[in-house]
Symmetry: C2
Subunit: 491 residues, 2 copies
Amino acid sequence: MAKGLPKRSEDYSLWYNELVKKADLAEHSPVRGCMVIKPYGFSIWEKMQSAIDKMFKDTGHTNAYFPLFVPKSYLSREADHVEGFAKECAVVTHYRLKNAEDGSGVVVDPEAKLEEELIVRPTSETVIWSTYRNWIQSYRDLPILVNQWANVVRWEMRTRLFLRTAEFLWQEGHTAHATEQEAKDETMQMLRVYADFAENFMAMPVIQGVKTESERFPGAVDTYCIEALMQDGKALQSGTSHFLGQNFARAFDVKFANKEGKEELVWGTSWGVSTRLMGALIMAHSDDNGLVLPPKLAPIQVVIVPIFKSEEQLSAIREVAERLQAKLKSHDISVKFDDRDTNSPGWKFAEYEMKGVPLRLAIGPRDLENGTVEVARRDTREKETKNLENIADHILTTLDNIQANIYQKALDFRTQNTSVADSYDDFKALLDDKGGFVMAHWDGTAETEEKIKEETKATIRCIPLDFQPGEGKCIYSGKPSQGRVVFARAY
Amino acid sequence: MAKGLPKRSEDYSLWYNELVKKADLAEHSPVRGCMVIKPYGFSIWEKMQSAIDKMFKDTGHTNAYFPLFVPKSYLSREADHVEGFAKECAVVTHYRLKNAEDGSGVVVDPEAKLEEELIVRPTSETVIWSTYRNWIQSYRDLPILVNQWANVVRWEMRTRLFLRTAEFLWQEGHTAHATEQEAKDETMQMLRVYADFAENFMAMPVIQGVKTESERFPGAVDTYCIEALMQDGKALQSGTSHFLGQNFARAFDVKFANKEGKEELVWGTSWGVSTRLMGALIMAHSDDNGLVLPPKLAPIQVVIVPIFKSEEQLSAIREVAERLQAKLKSHDISVKFDDRDTNSPGWKFAEYEMKGVPLRLAIGPRDLENGTVEVARRDTREKETKNLENIADHILTTLDNIQANIYQKALDFRTQNTSVADSYDDFKALLDDKGGFVMAHWDGTAETEEKIKEETKATIRCIPLDFQPGEGKCIYSGKPSQGRVVFARAY
């Protein structure tokens, strides 16, 4: 077992990196900027995917798959989009290697140059809208409610596992609608789906809001987001849902005949969450002993560790453990019985703490005599000895309690770390001393937003959906403001 | 609804292309060589994925994710591997675009040239074994039983939807073991998993066997495969499982300390199936009316079509349909009730036939009076009127019967189209007149294999696992042979 972690309070960033490594979640790959998601990390991502995918299907969406490559010229079709995405991307220029003449290995074959370069998709609006053009003739073909699970590449020089990597995994929904209202409703519906997932599965409270113009997705009319607060007081954008208006329909000439037979441009949305959610999940709940996972996303929800000195003891414990395991499995609880004799119980305790297993049961010879089991919660680190009778019910209830407790703890943290600033001095002091979300008046201009960002590194995370209109003065310019927006330093 | 298909007997290739299009499975994308997998096609692939993934997990494997890119030099580490894969691949040479000076769009920024080119993975042995090097120190770290679901790219000039595309989706398992025997056992286990999936889910009988040296995976010691027979008499390789020996361990210096503390090279396997299975599924069972899907892989297993003239009739039918739908859903049967009034029942019948829905129920006003329903099987196209009482049981049984019948039909077809040839003239005549698998003696040399391929376009699909030793003479060279191998023309 790996040794302990650095403390969050001493070096949050190092704590995060070490935790990702020691909990076997991911590692840097030999390929610059790309990560390897290790089996344990991937099994958490699979739980996320499965829950999100179900929510998409329950709201009428289906999955499909579009090409990895985008022809270079496609990116240029939408003016904002190319500005946003063409700059840092992986460009395929050739389609063949050949043996080097000096025998030193393989080299790019200069004769195999592509006529038009291909970009490894940084996002798929362009290739998807060029496809939708052929799928849509009439209002009967609408809406199209499609999602894809895919890898995307955005060249990044400074990477951090899960939070910012050149290649990452995500889902991208792309929908097409006959009316503006329907597209707007879809945008908001998917924002709610993301908030629902974040809060009810990840146990992570989020603020829902709309981005300012300067933080908008390139090519969108409006970008909505969910913003979560990490334990170091920094915000993390955890999902976005874009109302695209008719921008991509215009760029790719996607029209439909309405009920009156008149041609109109199609309305669009796109929305996505990525493996960045893994970073959010890790940072929202974990502690100095390792990962803390909400039971709904834990690949192993309960681990049973036998404490034994002899093979006879182990087999007596195994009998009890396997019966309990079977019972819990019938309730869809994933249980691991770790009967390895290569590692001590203490080593195992530390290992499963590091990996964030919500409940640990320990059974020793004395427990067998007494008909008891030791139950340890990962979130509170409380231990209690319980009777084996009705233990399954107790476990089910406790898992629910852990899910609720983790959420409540994160919510309390956010409440404590959400402040109101009425002057720029207060604002700066709050950011430096406390961090967190700072609610402040803003004059609505991109210039002020940019100045504040330059001077404080804080950005407007969003104009919250529950925006309270209320006259005030911009903390920076003193100009009139219509209400407070959410500032924070962010990942 | 799309008009009818070309007949298989007249133009099999055109029939396939049209079927893929008209059943809404996939289409060519604007990006050369890449396909768009449409929602209906993707929903079949999802059913496949889910069944295969479960089989992998049941045999102790976990999923992970490795980078999309392979550094060029990695490919060269294993001599056969680079010969096999470096030739036709997508090469990333730059990481940035910039605005063209003449304002014509974006161009590759020559200053953003990569020091070492990156290859879009054609397969991931190299990047994975370079990672395993860090994961493996001791025998305690073995075995590693990892799979990834991913996209891969192999540049192809001549593409066919699902069968041969530049980008395709697949899974690739990569395992590492302490002993040769364990790696060999794993290779065979995964071959059996593939055969099990093909036969019991796809309802497609397969021959299991080992490839000849010339058809081996580049870098493998032995390549095992499952081979299926399509309705035009051509074979389709549907999955491969490779025993890699210590080749990749040697290339990437992956060693472990055994129980005696002595360093040894690790043994490896890799195995994969891809979206090519979609092509196999389509071609194995479908007919001139469209797709025929085995119930276990059909996204919609039962469709209910109401026949009505008035809203009153429809709502009376809906009541019956929804009750039945709920009942079937409780048995995990996916049922669609298609109550659209935009299309006639006849249109819907043709549509669901084209899409291969195994069972179609039609309910009209007379059925309501009589308490009956019309049940139509897609595979046999038989219709019968059944009493509504106990209809759910009848449907469950019939779905099982369809699954079994489709398999039996494909097995009978294969039996009828497997021949034995004892002379080269017979062999050529069989290939031209009948196609199918031809069992023939071969002298074991690559030269003979190559000559036969040149002259007849038939290849040795495999040396079957149930190889019957038996003296004979090679049909081509007349030299001694130890038994018959499986020849066919193939996709």
